[in-house]
Every structure is written in structure tokens, then in C-alpha cells.
């Protein structure tokens, strides 16, 4: 088991009343799974991914990651966990505008204090793999959306995470580019990387081997599942 959510509640207070963003979410994820979280806009997909990615807090419930109880960990230890095991891919790419493609991909390695020669090799592999060697000295603004997202994924993968969290990775791309990204995820998954993606597109969700439906922060049981 890679991670386990038990009865997670997350709420915000509005006018003295609790507004639930996540309502009694339980979820087991095995290593090697490819999970799609589906739901309309505002249903809580991003919130759930952020909780799984330990970027966000929750008020009630248990979260166990790789045998570690996340809910009772200190902020620092949590940060260490996700640094080590989790890679993020965002809808808005979130590349650093002032860094070139090469430097963007290299950044996570810098924070892991990896030696320069090793860094070079790793980044070169990644550029090769995504066929963007020719673009390595360009800045994000000089790339198309699909290319930017490729760089985003390359960056998420470079530190060899166990889990990739992708929040609508194809949301800003046209359908052809989106398909390419999905194929890539599929390929990564077969190599053993666990992937959880949020999406509101049926066709993208179908790439996963399990689909979770969210509505207003609650898991929905779908007839076909």
C-alpha cells in the first residue's frame, strides 16, 4: 500500500457554518496504480490532490503515506516526505519564468544537493526522453503549452518520485497535445510510477485503471464501478 486516506474531512468556516470541501473521503492507493479523480469544476478535486500532496491541511481523519501517519507528522517531516516521494504536475504548468527549460528541470535536483556531474546526466536523460533537447536553452514563454507541460512533467519526474500528482494536466492543452500527455502518463505508469490525476474529461479519465468520482467534496458511487 502506498497511501491510505481514512475518513478525511476538510472544511472552512463561512458565516459561522462549516462548509465542507472534503466530506468523509476514504481511499487506498496501491503502488503502481493510475487513478483518475473526476468531477465537475468546484467538486474538490484540487483540494483532494493537495491533501494527498501534503500541501494542504485537513481537519479530521487519518492519512498514512508509505506506512507513515502524515496527520501526526510535523510540517518539516511532511515536507521531507513529499520532497522525497511526490512529483507535482499543474494545469498552469507553473514553470519558473526566469529559468530556461534546462534549469527548470534541474531545480529539484539542486534542492536535493545532487552533484553537478550527476545532475547533468539526469537532466540530459530527461531532455532526451521527452525529445526537447533542442529546446533546453529556451525560456518557458518561448514554448507552446504542450511543450511547457512536457517540461513540467519532466521536472516532476527528474527526482524519481514514487507518486505523481497531476491536477488537470491537459486542461490548457488542445486535444492532440492532451492525448500525447496521457500516453506519456500511461507509459510512465507501466514503468511503475504511481499516478493520481484530476480531470473532468471522460476520455482522459479512461487512461487510468481506476476512476473516483467527486461531487461537492464527497466520493460518489457510480453504477458502472
Amino acid at each position: 500500500m502506498l497511501l491510505q486516506l481514512n475518513h478525511i474531512y476538510k472544511w472552512v468556516k463561512q458565516g459561522g457554518k462549516r462548509v465542507f470541501l472534503l466530506n468523509d473521503i476514504s481511499l487506498d492507493v496501491e503502488e503502481g496504480e493510475f487513478i483518475s479523480i473526476m468531477g465537475p469544476s468546484g467538486s474538490g478535486k484540487s483540494t483532494l490532490l493537495n491533501v494527498i500532496g501534503m500541501l494542504d491541511e485537513f481537519q479530521e481523519g487519518e492519512y498514512i503515506f508509505d506506512g507513515e501517519p502524515v496527520h501526526s507528522l510535523k510540517e518539516k517531516q511532511r515536507a521531507k516526505l513529499y520532497k522525497e516521494y511526490i512529483g507535482f504536475v499543474f494545469q498552469a504548468y507553473h514553470l519558473i519564468d526566469e529559468l530556461t527549460v534546462y534549469e527548470n528541470i534541474e531545480t529539484p535536483l539542486l534542492y536535493k544537493n545532487i552533484k553537478s556531474s550527476e545532475r547533468k546526466a539526469l537532466v540530459a536523460d530527461m531532455l532526451d526522453r521527452f525529445n526537447i533537447v533542442g529546446k533546453k536553452d529556451l525560456f518557458p514563454a518561448q514554448l507552446s503549452g504542450g511543450q511547457q507541460q512536457l517540461v513540467g512533467i519532466a521536472r516532476a519526474l527528474i527526482a524519481k518520485p514514487k507518486l505523481i500528482l497531476a491536477d488537470e494536466p491537459t486542461g490548457n492543452l488542445n486535444s492532440k497535445q492532451g492525448e500525447e500527455i496521457m500516453e506519456l502518463f500511461k507509459e510512465l505508469n507501466t514503468e511503475g510510477v504511481t499516478i493520481i490525476q484530476a480531470t473532468h474529461s471522460e476520455s482522459n479519465a479512461a487512461y487510468g485503471n481506476r476512476i473516483i468520482h467527486l461531487l461537492d467534496g464527497s466520493k460518489q458511487l457510480q453504477p458502472q464501478n
Partner: protein, 803 residues
């Protein structure tokens, strides 16, 4: 990692060119100003600090309980120093010190030299390096020490040991041999001289050998290692009671009150290293380094203002970097690493600004030295301790100004940052407080400029009770006896057009071009009481030449034969004597000589305007020397008259330098400190304003950018250009208003403290501070309006489209 930081730092700096430029501009101006001010201040602080024994050397002074209160005296009688050495323990060295002028009498090369009379110990105590010859040369009565510079001037070379030299000292010609050559006196030395001769050559040395009541020189002592000045002061009580017995009895008789220790006369020691900062004129010794520290303080304030700009701009711009921060955090950046990244970006700006600032200060060094009339040099700052201090302050500034925004940014939550949400309310409060501080400083400095300028103006234009515009004072530095030269001047100038009258006295008014100041005071018994007065030896026509007003009686006159025993006093002296009708009253000096008061002059400011007008008595005894000639000219053709006088002097004393100057110039020269202070404060406030405006400009630019959409919407809804400009401006004006409320009382208090030093001073009025505040408001308005009006004028469709 570091490479990555540097790269991104420079890319960011390049991307935000306008902010980088504004920051570099502000910081480099601030660094340059701070460096120059530090140079000035440290120069002042380094006065007399080069002596190796400075910790053990003290100047001796007396605290005297007079009936009128406590008074300090640094003048000592001739037998004092030898007796001190004999009778008190723990004294390693003692030296007497008296400065005078001398004229070198070599073949037509008549040079005025600064001469000191001193004891052989002098060169053991003070660090004036002997280059040639031996340091104890003064043990031989006829040998002298001269500085290299003097040797060069006199002989055209410096290896002049054994050369003989004829000097005219106080009208007496004496022959000396050069016994040693000294390295030139450092400019930071308070003790300055060209020639040192044995104290036994001092005027009236033989007559005063055993007199304890004739005081005319300073005394310095060096204590044994481990001895404390307070122990010496205590053990000096019996010494004082023995040697000043008569003096003390007089004080008791006159009704003086003993001090807390029960003493009427007490020997005290001033640490020599404080000498440059000591003021003996009050009723207790004041050692104050306030002036250099104030200048250093202004430098720090300027740095502070520039630092505030930097902090405010960094925080305001951080909104643009939130996503990067969030992203880096998800990529695994620790707070520490983010802090270091943002901080190192600041360090680059500071470093570049420092280099530019150093360049700028080097470029401005010589105009600065001229403007502020200081011999200080930037290279004076290159001593190792100072360099370390400057380096530490630089690190501190980068740490605070660069560290605070870095800390704020690195502490942001990951998600918040990713979503681009920044809790700006709290940050705006910090920004507003900092801007208020900035403008408060600027308003205080502007008020300072106004008040100092007004006081200086007041002092320059005040009616001092004599004619300073049409009287020329000439230092009598000729070879001939001074009285003879005065007579010759009278002859030469008699009947010349524009010359109204010629007189002389033994003291100048203000500070002449000869640079010498001196006062002469005496005390005597009058009707069973001790009284004190300033003394002035004058020639005929002195009050007339200077335009002094006669109150009663008459002035010295050629038609009265006995006027060498007459005196003319001022009103303050009449009060000191407690005589309603002082004319024809008699006073007895030196136990036997009776003088008669023949006239009373209206009070006039013969001393600094920081003092009340003191008693003065004028004598016309022809046995006493005169040192300055005074010549009154007609208001027309001042230049021609001045030249005629110069020509006359050149004919009389062809080899002596003509140092004549109008008295108003001399008075002006005494305001050197006030003038420098006014210049420093006004340029300080100018820089403070420029820097504050750079900050304000940058912030207004950011605010306008942030509110572009709001402005567009408001215009679409029908707001006028004026309304929008007002909307954007009023928040800033509020800050300046608050700054005024804080700054005005502070400035009022500081400036009224400063004015306390002047007996004659301007009054502080509210409008001075209001004017300073309004000026700040006006400048702020102009600065902001560059951006706000442009934003308000912009086509709303355009601003909405850019969103």
C-alpha cells in the same frame, strides 16, 4: 546551486529594470553620502588620537569657586609644572606648553612661524617623530626642533641639523641652532607648531619664575602606568591649598561657596584624547563628540532611508514572485534555501550599489572637501579597524534591508503562494510605517535646514554694536616694533581719500586671516570684592574707528596727558563693579598702580554670539604691545581703499605678508562650524528628500499598476481625472501628514536644544515647521503625480484590456 541563484538573481534584476535602477540610484547615492559623512566624522574623531601615550596623558585645569559661580581655568603659572613634578607622586612626565608667533630673520626671507615654548618632556610624551637629531634636544637651551616642512621653507632642504637661525620673538631677537628635524605634524593634531623652543624663552619667564598669580600657558602630564587621574586629583588637594593659599583666601572673602568636596580651588585632569572635544567655557567641563556623531548620524539616517526604499520595493514587488516561491517549495526548497536565494539577490544590488557609491564618493571627494572645508580624505578611512567597522555595517545593512523581504517571502505558505495570494494588508502596514519614518526624517532635516540657516543669517546680520562693514583689521606681523608700524601706517594713510581713521589694539574681532585667537582676562580687588574683566590694550581713536557708542564720560584723547592711566569700560564692567556712576572711579592694579575710569561704552559683542556680553576694560598703556591695526574706510570705493591700505603696508613691511581683512569677514569666519553644519544638514535633507521621493515614486508606480483595472472601471462608471488622481494620491498624503505630526515636535525639541547654545538666538515659530511639512507634501505630490495623473488620463478601454 550558487550559480543558479546568481543566474536567477541577475535575470530578475534585468527583468525589473526600472526597480533595479531606482534601487541602485538610491542606494549608491546613500552609500556615497554616508561614506563622505563618515570620512568627515571619523576625521574629526581622530583628532589627537595618534599619540602612543594618549591614554596616560592629561591636561591640567583648575576648577575655581568664584562668587559668581564655578569657573574653569587651563592657564597655569610658570612655577606650577616644576612644583607638580616635585611634590606629587605617580607623575612620569610634565610639560608646559605655550604657543606664540615668531618671525624668522634670515636674509630677506621673513617668515611667520608658529612657535611653541615647551619643556624637554614634551617629545617624550607626545608622538611627534624625530627624523634627524635627538628627541631630547630641548634640554639644551639654545637648540630648537623644527618640522620638515619648516626646514624646507627656511632652508630649501631638510638636512639642516646644526644650522643657526635668528628668530624675532616678542620683539626680541634670539639666535638658535637646529637640534632636530621632526616629521610634519599630522593634520589631526590639536597641537600645531613649526618650531619648538625651550620654555625658558617664553615671555617674562624670569619675572614669572616664582609668581603663582601670572598664568599664561597650558600644562600636560603623563601618569605612571597604573596610576589613576582621580588618585592624583585627590593627592593634589594639599598642593593646591599650599600654593594657592592667597587665592583661596580671596575667594572665601568674596563669598564664594566651596564645592561638594569642601574645596575652593581644585586641580582636575582632562584626558588628552578628549582635548579636541572639550569646552572649558562653562561652569563645568563639557566633553562632547556630539558634532561628529551627529554627522555620522545623518549618514546613517540617509542609509536608513535608502534601506527603507529597498525593503518597500522588494515587498511590493514580491507579488510577482509568489508563483515562483510556491513552485520552488513544491520542488523541495526549504525555507532556508528560499531565504538565501532572495537575500543573495539583495546582496547583489547592495554590492553593485556599494561599488557605484564608492566610485561616486571618490568623484565627489574634492568638491565635498571644499564645500565642507575639511582636510579629511577617504583614504583616512583605510585603517584596518575602520574598514572592518564599515564592512560590518555594510553586512548589517544588507542583512536587515535584504533579509526582511527575504524572510517574508520564504515564510509564505506553499498553496497560498501558488495561488498568488499575498496577505498584503499586513505588509502594507509595514510599508506605511516605514514611509512615515522616512518622511519624518526628511521633515526633521528640512526644519533643521531652515532653523540653522535662519540662525546663521541672524548672527551674520545682527548689529554687534560696532561697524564691521567698513573697518579693516591687519595683523601686525612685521619686523619692526608694532607701535612703530602703527605710527607709520597712520602717516602713510593720512589724508588718503577714503581712509577715515587708524587705530590698533592687542586683539582682533572675529577670526582674522592669521588664524589666531586669544583672550586676556584679569581679576583684581575692588572695594573689598574680587572682580574680573576682559582686557584690551588700545591705541588712540579705537572706539571711534570701530564705531563703538560712548555712553558717558570720554574716550582716550591726545588732549589729556595722563591717559596711560585711564581706562574705558563697557556697561557690563560697570555692572561688575556695581557702580551706577563709574566715571572717575578708581581701581588699583598690581597693588600700587591707580587707574581712573574716564568713559563707559555701550555694550558690544566683542566675543562669540554664544556668550553674554562680558565686562571689558580698555587700557592705553604704551608699554604694552599692540597686535592688530584697525582702519576705518569710507563706504564708497571700498576696493580702492583696501588696496591703498595693502600698498601702504607693503611699503612699510615689504617682507611681511599682508593679512588684512574686513571685520565682517572675520566675524563670518567664526561661524565656520555653524556654516558647515548648515551645509551638512541641508545637503543631508536634500539627499533624504531625493531618496524618499525615489521610494515614493516606485511605490506609487506599483500601486498604480496594481489598481489599473480599478481605475479603468471607475472611469467607465464616470469618475473624472481629478477624482481618480485624488483617489490615488490621498493615501500617500495621509502618510506625509502623519509624518509631519511626528516630526514637528521632534524637530522642535532638537532645534530648541541646539539654540540653547546661543545667548543670541532666533525664536522658533510654528510656521517654520509648517513650511517644512508643506514642502514635504508639495514634493511628495509632485513625485506621485508623475504616475497617478498618467494613470488617470489613460483610456479606460486600454487599461481594462491589459487585465
Amino acid at each position: 546551486m550558487l550559480k543558479n541563484y546568481i543566474k536567477i538573481a541577475f535575470r530578475n534584476l534585468w527583468k525589473d529594470k526600472s526597480f533595479t535602477l531606482l534601487n541602485l540610484l538610491g542606494l549608491s547615492i546613500a552609500f556615497a553620502a554616508a561614506l563622505l559623512l563618515a570620512m568627515y566624522a571619523f576625521f574629526d574623531l581622530s583628532y589627537d588620537q595618534f599619540h602612543k601615550n594618549k591614554e596616560a596623558i592629561f591636561q591640567v585645569y583648575y576648577t575655581e569657586q568664584t562668587p559668581g559661580g564655578r569657573a574653569l581655568a587651563t592657564s597655569m603659572p610658570v612655577p606650577f609644572a616644576p612644583a607638580l613634578r616635585e611634590e606629587l607622586p605617580n607623575i612620569k612626565h610634565v610639560t608646559r606648553y605655550m604657543s606664540d608667533g615668531a618671525l624668522n630673520l634670515e636674509e630677506g626671507k621673513e617668515l611667520n612661524l608658529r612657535l611653541i615654548f615647551t619643556d624637554p618632556d614634551f617629545f617624550e610624551m607626545f608622538t611627534f617623530e624625530t627624523l634627524l637629531g635627538s628627541a631630547d634636544v630641548l634640554k639644551e637651551n639654545s637648540k630648537i626642533s623644527i618640522t620638515e616642512e619648516t626646514a624646507q621653507k627656511l632652508f630649501g632642504r631638510t638636512d639642516v641639523l646644526g644650522q643657526s637661525l635668528n628668530l624675532l620673538i616678542n620683539g626680541r631677537k634670539e639666535a638658535f641652532t637646529v637640534g632636530s628635524i621632526l616629521k610634519d605634524i599630522p593634520i589631526t593634531s590639536g597641537l600645531r607648531f613649526d618650531v619648538a623652543v625651550n620654555f625658558t624663552h617664553s615671555p617674562n619667564y624670569a619675572e614669572n619664575l616664582d609668581r603663582w598669580d601670572a598664568r599664561n600657558h597650558s600644562v600636560f602630564i603623563q601618569l605612571d602606568e597604573g596610576a589613576t587621574p582621580s588618585a592624583l586629583t585627590k593627592s593634589a588637594a594639599s598642593f593646591t591649598n599650599l600654593h594657592y593659599q592667597g587665592n583661596i583666601e580671596d575667594l572665601k572673602r568674596d563669598g564664594a561657596q566651596p564645592n561638594a568636596n569642601g574645596n575652593y580651588l581644585e586641580l582636575n585632569l582632562l584626558p588628552f584624547k578628549d582635548m579636541h572635544f572639550a569646552d572649558f567655557s562653562g561652569d563645568s567641563l563639557k566633553v562632547s563628540r556630539a558634532y561628529p556623531y551627529m554627522i555620522l548620524g545623518i549618514g546613517l539616517l540617509i542609509l536608513f532611508i535608502a534601506g527603507i526604499n529597498f525593503v518597500n520595493m522588494s515587498i511590493a514587488r514580491s507579488a510577482q514572485r509568489l508563483r515562483e516561491i510556491g513552485m520552488r517549495k513544491t520542488l523541495g526548497a526549504a525555507k532556508k534555501q528560499l531565504f538565501f536565494q532572495f537575500w543573495s539577490e539583495s546582496v547583489w544590488i547592495f554590492l553593485i550599489a556599494l561599488l557605484l557609491g564608492i566610485g561616486l564618493s571618490l568623484a565627489l571627494e574634492s568638491p565635498f572637501r571644499q564645500l565642507f572645508n575639511t582636510p579629511a580624505r577617504l583614504t583616512d578611512l583605510s585603517s584596518s579597524t575602520l574598514l572592518i567597522a564599515l564592512f560590518i555595517s555594510f553586512i548589517l545593512i544588507t542583512f536587515i534591508a535584504g533579509g526582511y523581504p527575504a524572510l517574508v517571502l520564504s515564510k509564505l505558505g506553499t498553496l497560498k503562494a501558488l495561488k498568488g495570494k499575498l496577505d498584503l494588508a499586513g505588509k502594507n502596514r509595514v510599508r506605511n510605517v516605514l514611509m512615515v519614518v522616512q518622511f519624518s526624517i526628511a521633515i526633521v532635516l528640512i526644519s533643521g535646514t531652515f532653523v540653522l540657516g535662519k540662525q546663521l543669517d541672524y548672527m551674520r546680520n545682527k548689529d554687534l554694536g560696532f561697524n564691521k562693514e567698513e573697518v579693516i583689521a591687519i595683523p601686525l606681523n612685521g619686523k619692526r616694533a608694532n607701535r612703530q608700524n602703527v605710527a607709520l601706517l597712520r602717516n602713510e594713510l593720512a589724508g588718503k581719500p577714503g581712509i577715515l581713521s587708524v587705530s590698533a589694539s592687542d586683539n582682533n574681532l572675529g577670526l582674522g586671516r592669521d588664524g589666531s585667537t586669544y583672550f586676556s582676562r584679569m581679576g583684581f580687588d575692588y572695594k573689598g570684592r574680587g572682580v574680573a574683566t576682559n582686557m584690551l590694550v588700545v591705541d588712540y581713536d579705537y572706539p571711534e574707528t570701530l564705531g563703538l557708542q560712548l555712553k558717558e564720560g570720554r574716550t582716550f584723547s591726545r588732549s589729556f596727558s595722563g591717559d596711560s592711566l585711564s581706562i574705558v569700560i563697557n556697561e557690563a564692567m560697570a555692572r561688575e563693579l556695581q557702580e551706577k556712576e563709574p566715571v572717575n572711579k578708581q581701581i588699583i592694579l598690581d597693588d600700587s598702580i591707580t587707574y581712573t575710569i574716564v568713559g563707559v561704552l555701550k555694550d558690544y559683542n566683542f566675543q562669540s554670539l554664544s556668550k553674554k556680553i562680558e565686562p571689558i576694560s580698555m587700557f592705553m598703556n604704551r608699554d604694552w604691545d599692540l597686535y592688530y591695526a584697525f582702519i576705518k574706510i569710507a563706504p564708497q570705493n571700498r576696493v580702492q581703499s583696501f588696496e591703498a591700505i595693502e600698498d601702504a603696508w607693503k611699503r612699510i613691511e615689504p617682507n611681511a605678508e599682508f593679512l588684512g581683512s574686513f571685520i565682517d569677514e572675520n566675524i563670518d569666519r567664526t561661524f565656520k562650524r555653524e556654516r558647515t553644519m548648515t551645509t551638512i544638514i541641508s545637503s543631508g535633507s536634500l539627499i533624504a528628500i531625493i531618496l524618499s521621493c525615489i521610494g515614493l515614486f516606485a511605490i506609487s508606480m506599483l500601486v498604480v499598476t496594481q489598481r489599473t483595472k480599478e481605475i479603468g472601471v471607475r472611469k467607465v462608471v464616470g469618475a473624472s481625472v481629478a477624482q481618480i488622481t485624488f483617489l490615488l494620491t490621498k493615501d500617500f498624503l495621509k502618510l506625509v501628514g502623519v509624518a509631519f505630526l511626528i516630526a514637528a515636535p521632534v524637530a522642535w525639541w532638537l532645534l530648541s536644544q541646539w539654540l540653547q547654545d546661543y545667548e543670541y538666538r532666533i525664536e522658533l515659530h510654528l510656521w517654520i515647521f509648517l513650511a517644512a511639512g508643506l514642502l514635504a507634501v508639495f514634493i511628495a505630490l509632485v513625485t506621485i503625480s508623475f504616475r497617478t495623473i498618467r494613470a488617470a488620463l489613460k483610456n479606460p478601454v486600454e487599461s481594462l484590456r491589459t487585465e
